[in-house]
Subunit: 330 residues, 2 copies
C-alpha cells in the first residue's frame, strides 16, 4: 500500500486538520466534518452547500469560499456524508435567504440530502436541492439510479455560486443550477484503477495495456474495455460521446479533468486533442479549464465535461472566485 496516511480510519479527519491549518479563511469542524467559509452566514445571500464521499478533492471542500460554495460536507472515502452534517452546514450558512443543496446523483447522497432537507426545513431553514447527473457513459450503475454526477458539479457550484454572491433569491439560484446541469455532459476514462485506504488494493482490476471507457469517479464500470488508445483516440471517443448527447448550438465551457494520478503534462496534451475534436465538430469553446478538479484518489485517467453557455452563464463563470481549488478574479 503506497499511501501517505497514518491509518485508514483517520484519513478524512487528518485531511480536515490539514485543511484547517492551510486555510485560515475556512472554518473547519473536524469532529462534525463540515467546512464553512469563515464569513458565513453572509448577509442577504443564499447559502450553497454540497458534499459527498471524500476522495474527489478538491471537490467539494476545496470549492468553499466567496463566489462558490458556502459549505461542504465530506463523507468517508467514496461514502455519502450523513444528514446531520448537511443540517449543520445549512444552519451555519443560512442568512435567512435559504440554502441550496447541490447533490451529485448517487443513491446514498440523494437519500441523505433529501432527509437533511426535511430536517433543515423543520428547523425553519428554506432548502432547495439540485441534482447533478451529467455523466453520459451509463444509465443506472453501481451507487446510481440514472446518470452519475461528475465534472458538471464544478460548473454548477461555480455558476450558481456567482449568482448567489450577487444576492439573487433562492428560486433563481436553484433555477440556474438546474440549467447548468441540463446544459452539461461528461465522459470519463480510466487508465488505472484507484485504491481506497480502507481496501488497500485496487477497487477493480484493469490489466496493463487496457483502459476503461466511461469510468465512474468511484471506479464504477463504464461502457467498455479496450486495448490502450492514444490521447487522440481517447479524445475522439470521449468528446463524441458527450456531443452525441449534448448537441450544443452555442459555445461551451470545457473542463479537461484529471482523475488524480495523470500528470499535468499529459492532461495538457490531451486538452490539445480535445480542442482539435471540438474544432472538427464545429463546436466553439468559450473557456477551458485543465487540471485535477473532480478526482478519484490515485486513479490515472481523465474526463471531459462540456457546458453549453449563453452570455449570462459565461458572465457568471468569469465572475471572481476565491477558494482553495478554484480562484480568479479582479
Amino acid at each position: 500500500m503506497r499511501m501517505l496516511i497514518n491509518v485508514p480510519e483517520t484519513v478524512v479527519a487528518d485531511a480536515l486538520r490539514g485543511v484547517a491549518a492551510a486555510h485560515p479563511e475556512l472554518t473547519v469542524d473536524v469532529d462534525n466534518r463540515v467546512v464553512v467559509r469563515r464569513d458565513a452566514p453572509v448577509a442577504d445571500k443564499v447559502g450553497l452547500v454540497s458534499g459527498g464521499g471524500s476522495g474527489h478533492e478538491p471537490l467539494h471542500g476545496g470549492f468553499v469560499g466567496p463566489g462558490m460554495l458556502d459549505a461542504a460536507c465530506p463523507g468517508e472515502v467514496f461514502t455519502s456524508p450523513v444528514p446531520d452534517q448537511m443540517v449543520r452546514a445549512a444552519a451555519a450558512v443560512d442568512s435567512g435567504k435559504g440554502v441550496l443543496f447541490i447533490v451529485k446523483n448517487y443513491t446514498g447522497d440523494v437519500l441523505n440530502f433529501t432527509m437533511a432537507a426535511e430536517l433543515a426545513e423543520d428547523e425553519g431553514i428554506q432548502v432547495a436541492s439540485v441534482l447533478v447527473d451529467d455523466d453520459v457513459a451509463v444509465t443506472d450503475s453501481t451507487f446510481t439510479a440514472g446518470r452519475r454526477g461528475t465534472g458538471a458539479t464544478l460548473f454548477v457550484e461555480k455558476i450558481a455560486g456567482a449568482l448567489a454572491e450577487e444576492g439573487a433569491p433562492l428560486e433563481k439560484v436553484e433555477a440556474i443550477a438546474r440549467r447548468v446541469n441540463e446544459s452539461s455532459r461528461s465522459f470519463g476514462v480510466a487508465l488505472s484503477a484507484c485504491t481506497t485506504p480502507a481496501k488497500g488494493s485496487p477497487t477493480f482490476d484493469l490489466p496493463a495495456g487496457e483502459l476503461e471507457l466511461g469510468i465512474g469517479i468511484h471506479g464504477e464500470p463504464g461502457r467498455e474495455r479496450r486495448a490502450m488508445m492514444t490521447s487522440r483516440e481517447i479524445a475522439d471517443f470521449a468528446v463524441d460521446a458527450v456531443l452525441e448527447d449534448l448537441r450544443p448550438d452555442a459555445p461551451v465551457l470545457a473542463l479537461v479533468n484529471g482523475m488524480g494520478a495523470t500528470p499535468l503534462l499529459e492532461l495538457y496534451g490531451f486538452n490539445a486533442e480535445v480542442q482539435r475534436v471540438l474544432g472538427e465538430r464545429g463546436v466553439s469553446v468559450a473557456r477551458t479549464l485543465v487540471g485535477n478538479y473532480v478526482t478519484s484518489l490515485d486513479m490515472a485517467g481523465c474526463s471531459v465535461t462540456l457546458c453549453q453557455v449563453d452570455e449570462e452563464l459565461l458572465r457568471l463563470w468569469d465572475a471572481p472566485v476565491a477558494t482553495p481549488g478554484l480562484r480568479w478574479g479582479r
Copy 2:
C-alpha cells in the same frame, strides 16, 4: 504503459498546444518551446525567466503570468532546455531593465543557462542569474554537483516575481531571489517511482512496501530506503531533515508539495502532521501551501519546503499573482 499520450516524441509539443488553447493570457511558441506572458515585455519591469526539464508541471510554464515569471522554457521530459530557448525568452521579456534567470541546480540547466546568459548579453540584454539549490537530502547526485533545486523554486519565482512587478531594478530582484533560496530548504519522499514517456517503465525500482527518503524530482537516489512509514513518521523525518539545516529563528512559509500521484486527501493529512512537527519544534508558520506544484510525473510521494521570512518576504509572498498554477490577489 498507462499514459495519456500520442507518442513519446511529441509529449512536450502536444502539452504546449494544450496550454496555448487553455490560456489565451499566455503566448506559446510551440516550435521554439517558449511560454511568455502575453503582455511581455512589460514596460519598466525586470523580466523573470526560468525553465528546466518537463515533467514537473505546473513548474515552470504554469507559473508564467503577472506577479511571477515572464517566461518559461520547457525542455524534453527531465532534460534541460537549450540555450536558444532561453535567449528567445530573454529577448521576449526584456523591457530594457534586464532579465533574471532562475536556474534549478542541475548540471545541464546550469550549463545551458550560463551559455544563454552570455549569448543574451551579446545581444545587449543585461542578465543576472540565481541558482536554486534547496534540497538538503544529498550533496552531489545524479545530474547535480551540489544540492538539487526543488520546491524552493516556487518561493523564489513568486517572491522575486512580486518585487519585479513593483518595478525594482535587476540587482534588487536578483538579491531577493538569492535571499529566498538561502532561506529555503526542502526534503522529498517517494512512495513510488515515476515513468517517463520515453522509457515507458519506472525510472527506478522501488518495491511495494518500501519508500525512499530524500528522493530527487527526477527519481535520483535519496538518503535511504525504509519499510513503509506512516504519514506522521514521514513528517517527522522530512521536517527534521529540513530544520537541521535551516534552523529558522523567524516564521516560515511551508510548501507541502505532492509529487504528482498522491491524492490531495493524503497531502492535506500529511500537512496536518507537518504542522504538528513544526509546532513541536517551536517553528511558527506564516503561510501554508498544499498541492501538486513541483512534481515528478506520476510519482507518488511528497516534499516539504520551508522558507524563513521577514516582513518584506511575507509581503511579497502575499502580493497578487495570476498564473495558471498559482493565483491569488485583491
